[in-house]
Amino acid sequence: MTSHQLLVLAEFSYDVRQPERGYAGQTLYVNVGETRIAAKSVDETMKRTFIGGRGFDLWLLWQGVQDTTRWSDPENEIVISSGPCGGTTQYPGSGKSIAATISPLTDIVIDSNAGGHFGPYLKFAGWDAIEIQGNASGDVIIFVNGPAGKVQLLAAPEDCPPDTHQLGAWVNERFAETEEDRQLMAFLSTGRGAEHTYMGCLNFSLYDRKRKDLRYKQAGRGGIGTVFRHKRVKAVVVRTCSFGGDANQPADLERIIETGAAMHREVARWDAVQNRMRHRGTAYLVQIMDDYDLLPVKNFQYGSHPDTARINGEVWEKTYTQNLPDGCWYGCTVACAHAVDDYRVRTGPYAGSCVIVDGPEYETVAGVGSNCGIFDPTVILEINFYCDTYGIDTISFGTTMAFVMECYEAGMLTAEQTGGLQLNFGNAEGALEVLHQMARGEGFGRLVGKGIQRMKDYFATHFGADRAFLDEIGMEAKGLEYSEYVTKESLAQQGGYGLTNKGPQHDEAWLIFMDQVNNQLPTFADKAEALHYFPMWRTWFGLCGFCKLPWNDVVDPKNAESDDPTKIPHHVENYVRIFSGVTGREVTADDLIRMSERVYNFQRVFNLRLGKGLRAHDAIPYRSAGPVTPAEYQSRQARYDQQIVEWLDLDPTEMSLEQKLTAHRCHRMAQYEQLIDAVYARRGWTSKGVPTPETLRSLGIDYPDVLAVVERHL
């Protein structure tokens, strides 16, 4: 057993329960401010209504906070849960954890998922979720010691390193005594960047047995890491008991094994000729997005660039270390989690060190690469390493930096205001300097770390920048920065970003091909149906502990013969079988959607409770819908002129460029408003965006305090 020799501030003993049918049956509550630890039981109603994962997070958070709670208040919580299927080793992508909190960027609930071993290990140590509340007065570490049946709140010593890659080594030294210990431990951490920005990410560790070293996956979005450090938590360490493939004690292991084996065969047969995830990870998308004019280039102005070949999947396939297992979670044959070994850092406090860089994944390559006009893979690696170890979300960093660069080039920002940095697109050294400043909380980087929404206010108020222009080019909605897809030609995906609960993150819906390329969603009703079904479907992954990628990133071509190939029906059936096999509940595909509807609507009401969640909050920046600048228009003039003829029955040759830009703007924004009406109606919401009492009743979440929130807005 460990001899960490740290000061114990509080201790709690518990009976370790092996999960039954996917549930440990209790959640762990730790108040780091009051140094109090407790257990809460999970009853059948909670399982039936909220399922697990994001559902459990929201339910626990709802009870912990007030209507007036803001991100920095002690009553704000970070809740993390995997879900009943989390920890399954027979089916790919079954080890996800979902974290939720009130976000410093959006002031509403943010949920963000991550791989790594933490969520399943927490469950195997006896807990379906961990709920962290309170703000500590000094740095603390939470240690969940499953084999000992003990939870400790510990004082973090002063020699505790500030950034994740060093902190990980320190945790291993302090808490693990043997190689097996290291394999049975996982922890959460972030870095100094999370202390000084609003876009702090949370790193979820995994111990890589082949490398004999730690790697990390990120719950990146919305500043969960910022809340973590504001609470003065340095790390949450979990040590689990030895476990096998039946650790969830599923109801029907044979059914799970059989379903998993078929899926593994499918992955093995088809990945190599489809997306090559096993070699390129999600970075395979870089070239595809460029080919279809969807890759964000220079703050989403353009969708492709001649230099994309320098940072595409082929390049990353050669750069990643190959032929090592994935490690994200055991048994995942999709194996998209790649890493670059022995990368020598060249800037900042770790210059000269040799490190492992996890990824970079598609979003990082597009965000800190093409979107910032940077097409140098070594720079992308450098930024990726620092974002992760500093604890800064690569997506928010990339989109924010791209916004700054466009402001700089448009004359909204001068070198005097940036502290001497000339932040043109493509200035890699400038971007890195801003990143280091963000981590230190110094200089211009301190302002950048607050995110686009606050920068717009600051630039307009203090620098005299044109507010209307900033609003049009600042790619944020609800305060969260956009993830990395150009949506100008897909109205459905504009809704896929704008009509989300948490802000513009693609994990609710990615409809661009269906809408823009296949033209499968020609009417508002079609788009609204897709913006109901797919967000509900994808929400379900986050309730159960699944990764989305095995659903549709590798598919047996026999799927083409199905009734609805876009939904991948035979994979949907796999999930029905796995869920039933784990929990013992015999369900249908429709039941899975119903589970999500409950949680999704609950989250919408949660936003209302916190003062947002109305139609006005579903607005999007105009660049998400159409071309803002003359240069943008001229770059795709043939397309835009043709649309003026087809959509508006006008003659573009008779119009000035300004008139054409205005015509597009009026038409596209009116279309978005019509889309909102159609989607709200499909979701059972009022035209203000409020779930109706009838909708809540039909879902069985018409609790008095829930109804009281919506009734204020009817």
Binding site: N275, I288, D553, P557
Partner: protein
Amino acid sequence: MTVQNLLDELGYTYPHLVVSVDGNLVRHDAYSETPVPDGADVRAIHLMAGG
């Protein structure tokens, strides 16, 4: 013209397609040898991945 020629012409580089010619599905490994008759109804549905 074959299915593959047509996909190349359209710039459809995405490997996850459901292609049909006059309602008949064409398997991925048959793109290069499947002809596209004049006036044929060709559909190339891009399956979602990404995101």
